[in-house]
C-alpha cells in the first residue's frame, strides 16, 4: 500500500478522526510552494509613475521596493491612487512607500500564512528568506491556486493508483482461471483420467472441499472414458474458475442415438474390450449427471455430442 492511497482512503485508525487532504496540505505546504517567485520589483529612486505603469502592465496591486535584494518597502494600488490624487505621482517611491512592511518567511506553512492574512487584512505579503532577502510575493489567490493544484495532483495519483490496482486484480482473476484441455483418441484406455488428474491437483491446491473435488473429477473422468469408448475421438476441456469448474466434452461422433436411454443407469453400448477393462457399466452419463450442478447434453447422429457440466466450488470447512 503506498502512503498516498492510505492517506486518501483514511484506513484503519485514522478513520476515527479523519482529516481532509486539504487540511493536511495546508500544514505540509510552505509559503515558498505557493508564492510568486522572483517578483517584479522597483528601486527606491524609481518614480511612483513607474510603479503605476508596472501595475498596469502586470495587473499587480502591490510592488515591493528593494535595494540590493533587500526589502525596503512596498507600494500598493492605494498609494498610487493617493499619489495621483495629491499630485506626487512623479516623485520617487522612497518618499511614499510603506516602510518595513509585514513580511512572511518562505518556510512558513500555508496555514500560518492564512492566519497572517486574516490577522492583517492585507491583500499580499512580500516573502523573505532566512537572510531577509526578498524571494517572492504571495496573495490569498496564490494559496488557493497552490492548494487546488496539489489536490488535483493527489487526485490524479489516486486515480492512477486505482487503475494499477484494477489491472492487478484483473491479472489475478485471469491467473485464477486455469484451463486444462486434452485431445482424446478413440480406444486409448491408457490415457483415461489425464484431465481429471490435473484438475484435481489444481482444486486441491485451492483448498476446495474434497467432496466437491471428487464430483468434478468423476465428471471429467467419465466424460473422458465416454469419448475413449464410444466415439471416434474428441476433446475435453476443464475450465477452473474461482467459483466453479466448467467441463466441456466435445466429440466428433457418431453421436448418441437415444440420449434418454443413455442417461438410464445400466444401459450400455460398450464393446467387449471396454467391458473387460471395467467400463461399460452403463453408469457413465448417470454418474456425470448426478455429480453436476449444471448438466446439459446435446447430441446429433453423424456429428457428435457436446456434454457440458458445471460444479460449484466450495472451500473445505476448517476443522478446529
Amino acid at each position: 500500500m503506498n502512503p498516498t492511497s492510505s492517506l486518501l482512503a483514511g484506513s484503519g485508525t485514522t478513520e476515527k478522526r479523519r482529516i481532509s487532504v486539504a487540511q493536511v496540505l495546508v500544514y505540509e505546504l510552505r509559503v515558498r510552494d505557493a508564492m510568486t517567485k522572483e517578483p517584479v520589483t522597483a528601486g527606491p529612486t524609481d518614480t511612483m509613475r513607474t510603479i503605476q505603469h508596472l501595475m498596469k502592465t502586470h495587473r499587480f496591486s502591490g510592488v515591493p521596493i528593494t535595494q540590493n535584494g533587500c526589502l525596503l518597502g512596498i507600494v500598493t494600488i492605494e498609494d498610487i491612487i493617493n499619489a495621483l490624487d495629491k499630485g506626487h505621482i512623479n516623485e520617487p517611491t522612497e518618499r511614499w512607500m510603506a516602510r518595513d512592511p509585514v513580511t512572511l518567511r518562505d518556510h512558513y506553512s500555508l496555514v500560518r500564512a492564512v492566519a497572517e492574512f486574516d490577522r492583517y487584512g492585507f491583500g499580499r505579503f512580500p516573502v523573505v528568506d532566512g537572510s531577509d532577502k526578498l524571494v517572492g510575493i504571495i496573495t490569498r489567490g496564490d494559496i488557493t491556486d497552490c492548494l487546488v493544484h496539489h489536490l488535483e495532483r493527489r487526485a490524479e495519483e489516486a486515480v492512477a493508483h486505482e487503475a494499477v490496482l484494477m489491472a492487478e486484480r484483473a491479472a489475478d482473476e485471469k491467473a485464477r482461471r486455469v484451463v486444462v484441455r486434452t485431445q482424446i483418441k478413440s480406444g486409448d484406455f491408457d490415457s483415461a483420467g489425464k484431465v481429471s488428474q490435473r484438475m484435481r491437483q489444481v482444486l486441491r491446491e485451492r483448498g476446495i472441499d474434497p467432496d466437491v473435488r471428487r464430483r468434478a473429477a468423476i465428471i471429467a473422468y467419465e466424460a473422458e472414458t465416454n469419448i475413449i469408448i464410444h466415439t471416434i475421438g474428441g476433446q475435453i476441456t476443464a475450465t477452473i474458475l474461482p467459483d466453479k469448474v466448467v467441463i466441456d466434452a466435445i466429440d466428433e461422433g457418431p453421436g448418441i442415438e437415444n440420449v434418454d436411454l443413455a442417461l438410464r443407469e445400466g444401459w450400455s453400448t460398450a464393446g467387449p474390450l471396454a467391458r473387460e477393462l471395467g467400463f461399460g457399466a452403463g453408469m457413465g452419463l448417470p454418474n456425470i449427471k448426478r455429480c453436476s450442478d449444471v448438466f446439459e447434453i446435446k447430441s446429433e447422429m453423424g456429428r457428435g455430442t457436446h456434454l457440458h457440466a458445471e460444479v460449484m466450488l466450495e472451500k473445505a470447512r476448517m476443522v478446529a
Partner: protein, 115 residues
C-alpha cells in the same frame, strides 16, 4: 457402510493371504466396497474403503485416487503390470494381490468385522 472404527490394513494381510505390491505404510480402512465396474465404484464407493476387484488396468489407480480409496485388493491371483504398480506407489495407493476369489475375500473381511 463405513460407520465403523478404522481398521489397520496391515492386520488384515495374513487373513486375506495378501501379497503387498506397493508399500502398505499404515493405511486405515473404514469399510469395503466390491465391484469390477469402474463407474459403479465412482458412484458408490465411499472414501477410505478397501476396494476389492479383479481389474488390473491402470484405470483402477485413477478411480481409486479419485475416490480417495487408500487400498485395492486384486483377487484370483491377478497382478497388474509393474508400470501400474509404480503409478500406484506414486499416488500413495496400496495395491494387494491375493489368490482368494472375490467371494472368499469378502467372507474373510466380513469375519474380521469389517462392515
Amino acid at each position: 457402510m463405513n460407520t465403523q472404527t478404522p481398521i489397520k490394513l496391515k492386520t488384515l494381510l495374513p487373513l486375506l493371504q495378501a501379497e503387498p505390491l506397493t508399500d502398505t505404510d499404515d493405511a486405515n480402512l473404514t469399510g469395503c466396497y466390491i465391484s469390477d465396474l469402474l463407474s459403479d465404484v465412482l458412484a458408490y464407493a465411499r472414501p477410505g474403503v478397501l476396494w476389492v476387484t479383479i481389474q488390473t488396468h491402470r484405470n483402477v489407480v485413477s478411480v481409486a485416487a479419485m475416490k480417495d480409496v487408500p487400498a485395492v485388493l486384486i483377487t484370483c491371483g491377478r497382478k497388474p503390470d509393474p508400470q501400474i504398480v509404480m503409478e500406484a506407489q506414486e499416488e500413495g495407493l496400496v495395491l494387494l494381490s491375493t489368490k482368494l476369489t472375490t467371494y472368499e475375500a469378502a467372507g474373510k473381511l466380513w469375519e474380521a468385522g469389517i462392515r
